[in-house]
């Protein structure tokens, strides 16, 4: 079943067109990644889906219902939760309060979900009474993901979960992301700069450049493409000289 389907989305920052007609699909139970350089429009796409920005044109369909232009709280209510870039935890609230904020739009008992989050991130349980501002970057990222899970989303959108994390912590976070998807069946849309780990974790991927999708396919197929290898995986086919400054022309195939 298609969870999310985006069609010809155009979003502007004032006069600047950040998304120039993006169409993507996310099926139930998959992790879909969006690769792209800085300024390609990845975060804009996430924000537009989450309702933080209004699209100029195009449709966003979530579980069959149009959601483009809805207010963010409504979008969360429908079942989309965004783990924003740079974590954005509430520093003066305790960890548990942060998590409860994530479940704010839901009625009923949150304790089941709290247990689930604590099970995946035991360190959060240990420190649940402390202010979130005292957590390390990696722990804050865990908290942000946990907070995202508290609304029991049908689609979890992760915006650069590896931002500012050490390689080891990145591995750990992505391990948990993969487990959440496998064991809990959480459908995810993942924006990531670290193409290596994103392609390892995701089932499918899109490449976004200058606000347009230029390439799409299963992760292993993307990882095998010459363009992806050179521009996203940093393969250094340095040749004879041991260094290369010029770039091959992108063909996206």
């Amino acid at each position: 079943m298609t969870v999310l389907s985006v069609r010809n989305l155009e979003t502007f920052y004032g006069a600047i067109m950040a998304l120039r007609g993006v169409s993507i699909d996310v099926e139930e139970g998959e992790i879909v990644t969006i690769l792209g350089a800085n300024g390609a429009g990845k975060t804009t796409l996430m924000k537009t889906i989450a309702g933080l920005m209004d699209p100029e044109k195009g449709q966003i369909t979530f579980l069959g219902d149009p959601i483009a232009g809805l207010d963010p709280d409504r979008v969360v209510g429908r079942g989309i939760s965004l783990v924003p870039e740079g974590r954005e935890v509430f520093p003066y609230l305790s960890i548990e309060e942060n998590l409860r904020m994530g479940g704010f739009t839901r009625k009923g008992d949150l304790s089941g979900d709290l247990d689930l989050v604590y099970q995946y991130f035991p360190i959060l349980k240990e420190r649940r009474r402390q202010a979130a501002g005292f957590l390390s970057g990696g722990q804050q990222q865990m908290l942000a993901i946990g907070r995202g899970l508290m609304s029991e989303p049908k689609l979890l959108m992760l915006d650069e979960p590896s931002l500012g994390l050490s390689p080891l912590l990145t591995q750990e976070i992505f391990g948990i992301i993969a487990r959440l998807n496998r064991d809990e069946g959480v459908t995810m849309l993942l924006v990531e700069q670290n193409a290596h780990i994103a392609l390892e974790t995701a089932h499918r991927g899109y490449v976004l450049e200058m606000g347009r999708i230029v390439m799409t396919g299963p992760s292993d197929q993307l990882a095998a493409s010459d363009d992806i290898q050179e521009f996203y995986l940093g393969r250094t086919d340095a040749g004879e000289r041991g260094q290369k400054r010029w770039k091959r022309r992108k063909t996206w195939r």
Partner: protein, 607 residues
């Protein structure tokens, strides 16, 4: 001299010079500090004089002699258009060596093939990217003794005993033992000596190096003077690859003879911006460029809003009527005047054709509708015909006598003949000397009595103007036995802004079909405006609306052709091809046989 009766013995001279290099030396001395070239550096146009032209080429020439390059040795130049390209070109020719260009889109393997075929000792490369091609395949081209790199950028720590940089080459030339060696060598160059080696793009078999002599090129200049008016004050824009004979003729030989200023486009992607900046007086392009200009304007029109697009349509109507009328009435004259002031003048300024006195199209067939369209907006576009083997131009229309649909009358001195099979034969001083080291190929190219076989099918009108209808080897014989020349159908299809190239298929088949390469930019815009979902290029070609759009163009085209020439089906090529792909020539034309091979599955689907 009466050009129509030139015999092989006659001396062909321009201003008393019978070789390009002696004419060049005289012009440099004459113009001295005047501007010869303009090139952008860090975004600002810089000027370079005729003195710099001479001094630089002289130093390169002396250095080449120091490196052991002697008369008759080919030298390879692998670079985008820039002034150093021309300096090296003239320097090599001046010492009697034979310069030959390599397309920057060629692979390392193709470079090695050319290096071995011509046995060049020296290779000029533009930058690290091109140098890497030599490094990659240097084992396959042991004949290259020295590689000279123009740009040091990215190579600060690089050193190799066979590689030197252009500034080192200049230094070598400066301290050369006998400084007058260069002038002496220049004087010994004879009209029959090779001026350049031009590798034909080789749509069939490996590339062949066509030898063009100084006499061939002098003939082009002398004959061109009567058909194409170049002025001393002309600004030109150089952007087609200098490896191609047409650009070399237009941007190197013609400015030498006529003293025009050549401006180099920054890159193939910025041609339209550079056109606006330079506003050239004369301009030589290929159909692809003209198609692009047309589709840009049509897209702008569709975005202009109701008043703007109405005004544009009206202006076009008046422009068209005015261009077609032999004797325009007062009303039409007035209307055209208003259209000119309100729309057309601005349009030309925006496109960079405000000063255009003559613009030409060659190298591939162009649709007559396109020429008429340019005529209507007041850009005098004329079509010519020529090939590497005819030294660039064989026939051309003139602005005053533009016979649209034909490729014009032969240059004075060029003789045309159609043989019994319909093939066009060319004779005269424009015809090349032969292929480099390929006597059997040379023999195949000439008839027994010495006419050049062009491989094109043509007819000559009563007024002497030539019409090319297709290529001999492209003739499609359907299973029904009908002979069809696909070029006419293809150029009609390409007139659509949504189609960038097309190949008609149908040899030994029951009916005709077609493979179409869509224009990415315009079709993407079409899809976006109509909210047609697509992600990458392949999904764009699969969208039903896009197929319907192209289907509409195909059926529109079909209306203009006879029953047997109808396209029964078509497919869109679903990968975005670039000049590096084997299916395309460096001038972005689809190669028929490669396309047939690589997309056999798509073709078989249609039968």
């Amino acid at each position: 001299m009466e050009m129509s009766r030139v015999t092989p013995e006659d001396r062909i001279a321009f201003d008393g010079h019978d070789t390009i290099v002696s004419l060049w030396a005289a012009r440099c001395a004459h113009y001295g500090p005047r501007v010869a070239h303009r090139e952008k550096e860090l975004g600002i146009w810089q000027e370079y004089s005729w003195n710099t032209y001479y001094d630089s080429a002289r130093k390169i020439g002396l250095a080449l002699m120091e490196l052991g390059v002697s008369k008759g040795d080919p030298v390879l130049i692998l670079s985008e258009d820039r002034r150093e390209w021309i300096y090296c070109d003239i320097a090599a020719a001046a010492i009697g060596a034979i310069p030959s260009g390599v397309y920057t889109t060629d692979s390392a393997g193709q470079l090695a093939y050319l290096a071995n075929d011509c046995a060049a000792k020296v290779l000029f490369v533009e930058n690290d990217e091109q140098l890497d091609k030599w490094l990659e395949a240097r084992g396959d081209m042991p004949g290259i003794e020295k590689v000279v790199v123009f740009d040091r950028e990215g190579l600060a720590t690089f050193s190799h005993k066979k590689v030197m940089f252009l500034d080192e080459l200049y230094a070598l030339g400066e301290k050369a033992a006998n400084p007058d060696r260069f002038e002496k060598a220049l004087e010994t160059v004879q009209p029959e000596d090779p001026r350049m080696l031009i590798y034909t793009s080789g749509t069939t078999g490996p590339p062949k190096g066509a030898i063009l002599t100084h006499r061939n090129m002098m003939f082009q200049l002398v004959a061109g003077e009567q058909m194409l008016d170049f002025h001393e004050t002309d600004e030109q824009l150089c952007f087609l690859p200098l490896c191609h004979v047409l650009e070399r003729l237009v941007s190197v030989e013609a400015p030498i003879a006529n003293g025009c200023t050549v401006n180099f486009a920054e890159s193939p992607e910025t041609v339209f911006e550079n056109l606006q900046e330079v506003n050239p007086d004369t301009f030589a392009g290929v159909p692809r460029i003209w198609e692009k200009v047309y589709s840009r304007v049509m897209i702008l029109r569709s975005e202009a809003g109701p008043i703007g697009s109405k005004a544009f349509d009206l202006a076009m109507l008046l422009g068209n009527r005015y261009a077609k009328a032999d004797n325009p009435g007062l009303g039409l004259k007035l209307g055209k005047l208003v259209a000119e002031f309100a729309v057309l003048r601005n349009l030309r300024r925006m496109l960079g054709f405000a000063n255009a006195r003559r613009v030409t199209s060659g190298a591939a067939p162009i649709s007559p509708e396109l020429i008429e369209w340019f005529d209507a907006i007041g850009v005098p576009l004329v079509e010519g015909f020529g090939m590497t083997e005819t030294g660039g131009v064989a026939t051309v229309n003139t602005v005053d006598d533009n016979n649209v649909g034909t490729v014009g009358k032969p240059l004075p001195g060029v003789e045309l003949k159609i043989d019994e099979t319909g093939e066009l034969l060319v004779g005269g001083p424009c015809v090349f000397k032969g292929y480099w080291n390929k006597p059997e190929k040379t023999a195949e190219t000439f008839t027994e009595d010495g006419w050049l076989k062009t491989g094109d099918i043509g007819r000559i009108g009563n007024d002497g103007a030539l019409t090319i209808t297709g290529r001999m080897k492209d003739i499609i014989i359907t299973a029904g036995g009908k002979n069809i020349t696909p070029a006419e159908i293809e150029s009609k299809l390409k007139f659509s802004p949504y189609i960038s190239d097309a190949v008609v298929i149908g040899d030994k088949r029951k009916y005709l079909t077609c493979l179409i390469m869509i224009d990415q930019e315009n079709v993407e815009k079409f899809a976006q405006d109509r909210q047609i979902p697509f992600s990458d290029f392949a999904s764009l070609t699969r969208a039903q609306e896009v197929r319907d759009l192209i289907g509409g163009v195909v059926s529109e085209t079909n209306k203009q052709f006879a029953q047997v020439e109808q396209l029964k089906d078509f497919r869109l090529i679903d990968i975005l091809l670039t000049a590096e792909d084997e299916e395309l020539t460096p001038t972005m034309k689809l190669k028929r046989n490669f396309v047939n091979e690589r997309h056999a599955a798509l073709i078989d689907e249609m039968y």
